[in-house]
Symmetry: C2
Subunit: 190 residues, 2 copies
Amino acid sequence: MNNLLKYIRSLTDFSDQSWELLQGALTKKEFKKNDYLLNEGQVCNSLFYIERGYCKSYYVIDGAIKNTGFFFENDIATNISSFGNGQKSTYAIVACEPLTAIVFDKDNLFQASKQSSEIEALGRNCIRLFAIKQEEFSTLFNLYSAQERLEYLESNHPEILQRVSLTQLASFLGVARETLSRIRKRRVLT
Amino acid sequence: MNNLLKYIRSLTDFSDQSWELLQGALTKKEFKKNDYLLNEGQVCNSLFYIERGYCKSYYVIDGAIKNTGFFFENDIATNISSFGNGQKSTYAIVACEPLTAIVFDKDNLFQASKQSSEIEALGRNCIRLFAIKQEEFSTLFNLYSAQERLEYLESNHPEILQRVSLTQLASFLGVARETLSRIRKRRVLT
DNA sequence: GGCTACCTGTGATAAACGTCACATAATTAC
DNA sequence: GTAATTATGTGACGTTTATCACAGGTAGCC
């Protein structure tokens, strides 16, 4: 839990009292590789703070898996629109390694928010960070070619390249596995 | 201002008293076509509620303009990461038509938030909607081809197609102007 | 060890897309 | 109204990428 407290305090002022109060909304949970944090069609009632391991979000389109995000230690994973609106999720989130998460329960978190403006502010900041991250990757696809997207990740998110296989990464970058293999080869030679 | 109040009440409970209090953070502002709501390099201290007209966000990459978003009546336009972190904006927002906006000033809004939990909740909901919109378009690029992206807009955001020129739209969809022209032709014939 | 599942590299070929060039609307400026 | 600017359509051509096919590599499991 200590990592989480550090993480929270990097975002916003947070008293010991708020931390105490927040405990009622938190559960530690272990996932095996390929366990679902969130399944397609399910309503998302949690924020998952990733303590150890990593997971990915993906869609299944015409039988093919399309990765849309990776979440590592000190990230929050969730489906923000399902969490906020109570709609069924159109995608799944699955553990790619054995994973330890601290789960924020929505109802309990809302209760706690009403009792502490610091917890309220924490929620706001989590959403804000999530929005910024979405904007970053949305822009990435809008502006750059596959090769430039790869270079961007190398510069700005090397942890993804280190931990995710080429096949998984290709799906995330929106190119065929073979194409990514060739881009990488081209870049080594020149 | 009446439209704004309706919009706010569609998002969250909002008393007349909160509305009164919020006034101190609001200014109505008129923009001519091609006026900047936000320029590149500037810090974004505002949320712009679009009352009439529309605007777009865009990057300039190697001298070429790349559109990343369009904002119409009843949308909130802002640079969420600049607004939140106080960093300089890496892109611009410009009026595409004569435009009327109600501008939320950041500092005054924060002051008002402290005095009313409803205003606080409003801020949170605006950020949340922004995050959902970003996620939607991020996914769109990740999952679909140019033609499918066009079809998605036709089904889900017809207002964009009705009001934005082909050249502007092509830049937003991430394809060459000529390609979009051909896609459209192909679709009419089949 | 041997089986299985998954991952990576590479060639051949076809489809999609970008770029350049130019013609023709449509819109805006004066 | 006329000129200038901007937007659109279309052909030709080259580049990038997807797809299919197959070979070899790696890791976990019994």
